[in-house]
Amino acid sequence: MTPQGGRVPQVQMLSPDGIFEVPAEYAEYGKYIERLNLDDFLKFYRDMARIRRFDNECTALQRQGQMGLWVQALGQEAAQIGSGYGVGPNDHMFPSYREHGVAITHGIDLMSIIKIMRGVNHGGWNPEETRFHLYAIVLATQVLHATGYAMGVNFDGLVGTGNPDVDQAVITYFGDGATAEGDVSEALLFAATTKAPLVFFCQNNQWAISSPVSAQTVVPLYLRGTGFGVPGIQVDGNDVLACYAVTAKHMDDARNGLGPSLIEALTYRVGAHTTSDDPTKYRPAEELEYWKARDPLTRFEKFLRRQGVGDDFFEEVAIAGDQLAEQIRAETFAMPNPPLENIFKHVYTDPHPLIAEQQAWLEGYEASFEEGEAE
């Protein structure tokens, strides 16, 4: 059941019952799983569970007025954790605004994401240091930034050197809705013509607020790059191992100088677009039930249990989730409001007379009330 109305070739490694099998035609991807061990699998599961718990806790915090908005990633945990771990230690990531799962695979403090949604800042982490670039709210804008960045990696001569310790690639995340934006098409073209080391990772969660993916495309999205010269592949976005393997392989290819490619991770937005949305107004309940039955965590749990992982592990993960929830609640409640000067800081890098003048005015204005109160 795809929104395009037919079956398309798709990389899947885990059956809904958690049975691992790599079809012969995808053997090149299967090699990437052979390098993993049980600890890696447990790490994948822990992070998927962690980000889901975080997500649900943030929705609760939003409902309690602690955040203006929350953007859920429910159901997309496998696509995000799998691909996040497929990104190498020198690579750069350009997310949209729903990539909380990718963020934790590269050490982004979850409180930084809460800060954005609470209105404390617009995203203050250091993108160069974390290699995880800032959230982009305007759809598809980040896809062009990733392309320019990848062109720069090419200019720096860090592609296809044969030394895997120095080669770099770039991955950019966007949704099915964003593919309708011209910036995605322009990015595909710029990346193709410059042979940029870039992977376009499209999470097709099948809904753009209230519009189904059929309103954004009539051709499967993994084919979107074909006319630009960017080959594509569809992966089961609810299969964490397939998402990992396909991302890792395509990032290797990009690093090795084979140019850009596109991955469509077919998944499902189980939650609302954001906490401001009400999907019951436009989405059939049966569709939601169909996809809930294909839950990525449930599937991976079945796989792990087949590997002999027992209740004690899953209990440990649940306890860790409770601790995380408690911690983010405490830190959110304790989070101070930003100071006045933050309005004016960093508007420009170099000094700017108008900004300095307006800051001085506001400080004086605010101070005048303090004096009044003292009298």
Partner: protein, 327 residues
């Protein structure tokens, strides 16, 4: 003795970019047709030969892509000089300029700088078809996070493009296209002043006339005619539309008591309007007459056969000067 040469504005910009590229190998030049052709106005002529196709290259015809990739390259440590072929073609890039280029330093709390120069030939008077003659500087001047400048002569063109490239902030560099071939002396040793400093081009006592970019020769011509008729006009070249050097304007208005602001842009909500408002606020008691704006009309840029009526000329400036003096 200083090392001066005569060159037209287009060549001066070219020489300025060349100097910046020689000084810093992170400076890149790209845009539509900028490589072999040297741009439709030949401003980037010869740069491909000197610096090679990794630093000077043609982009696909996609303005959002040009600015969007310039942003990504800035994140990677490159300083892009991106050309938009004509001002009327900049709007596909407006989202990337206004929502990304202008805001990323702020969004990142200073972790990112955006040293990107967007070069845009602007203004009319060249007998062109639609979308090749507009003056959209107010859109960009209204956007926090951008710097907006425009040279009016060869010396400024040579130095201001280098200052723009050295800026750690995004600079929208408006080039007065109908003056590209206007010659002037360039002092190759010493910059005139900072890129945001206004400059008194001609001293006068009775009326201050502020203008910028392609209107500067017109303003100087008006001052010349007025002088012959016994009226002394002080002409200020704004040079920077954002930020505006109000101190230089106020100092002049305190002397003359009268202000006329002239530009090619549609008058309402213009840079001229901002100057009128701010001067009224800062120098109200020094004004003997209301600030008068001379601009084009609030209509789409007309077909070329009508542009002489649309664009302000020296007579229209003098009409405003007379109104100010007779107030």
């Amino acid at each position: 003795m200083s090392n001066s040469v005569e060159m037209p504005i287009a060549k001066a910009i070219n020489a300025g970019i060349q100097k910046a590229m020689q000084k810093n190998n992170k400076v890149l030049v790209f845009g539509e047709d900028v490589a072999e052709l040297g741009g439709v106005f030949r401003v980037t002529e010869g740069l491909l030969t000197e610096f090679g196709n990794k630093r000077v290259f043609n982009s696909p015809i996609a303005e959002s892509g040009i600015v969007g990739t310039a942003i990504g390259l800035a994140m990677r440590g490159y300083r892009s000089v991106a050309e938009i072929q004509f001002e009327g073609f900049v709007y596909p890039a407006f989202n990337q300029i206004v929502s990304q280029l202008a805001k990323l330093t702020n969004r990142s709390e200073g972790h990112l700088s955006m040293p990107v120069v967007v070069r845009i030939p602007y203004g009319g008077g060249i007998g062109a078809v639609e979308h090749h003659s507009e003056s959209p500087e107010a859109y960009f001047s209204h956007t926090p996070g951008l710097r907006v400048i425009s040279p009016s002569n060869s010396n400024d063109a040579y130095w201001m493009i280098q200052q723009a490239i050295e800026s750690n902030d995004p600079v929208i560099f408006f080039e007065p296209k109908r003056r590209y071939w206007q010659k002037g002396m360039v002092n190759l040793d010493t910059p005139p002043s900072g890129m945001h400093d206004a400059k008194v081009l001609r001293e006068g006592t009775q009326v201050t006339l502020v203008s910028y970019g392609p209107m500067i020769p017109t303003a100087l011509q008006a001052a010349e005619v007025a002088a012959a008729e016994g009226t002394s006009i002080e002409v200020i070249d704004l040079r920077s539309m954002s930020p505006i050097d109000f101190q230089t304007i106020i100092n002049s208005v305190m002397k003359t008591g009268r202000l006329v602001v002239a530009s090619e842009a549609s008058t309402s909500f213009s840079v001229s309007a901002e100057i009128a408002a701010k001067v009224a606020e800062l120098a109200f008691y020094h004004l003997e007459a209301p600030v008068i704006r001379v601009g084009s009309f609030d209509v789409p840029y007309p077909p070329a056969k009508l542009e002489e009526l649309f664009l302000p000329d020296a007579d229209r400036i003098l009409e405003a000067v007379d109104r100010s003096l007779n107030y």
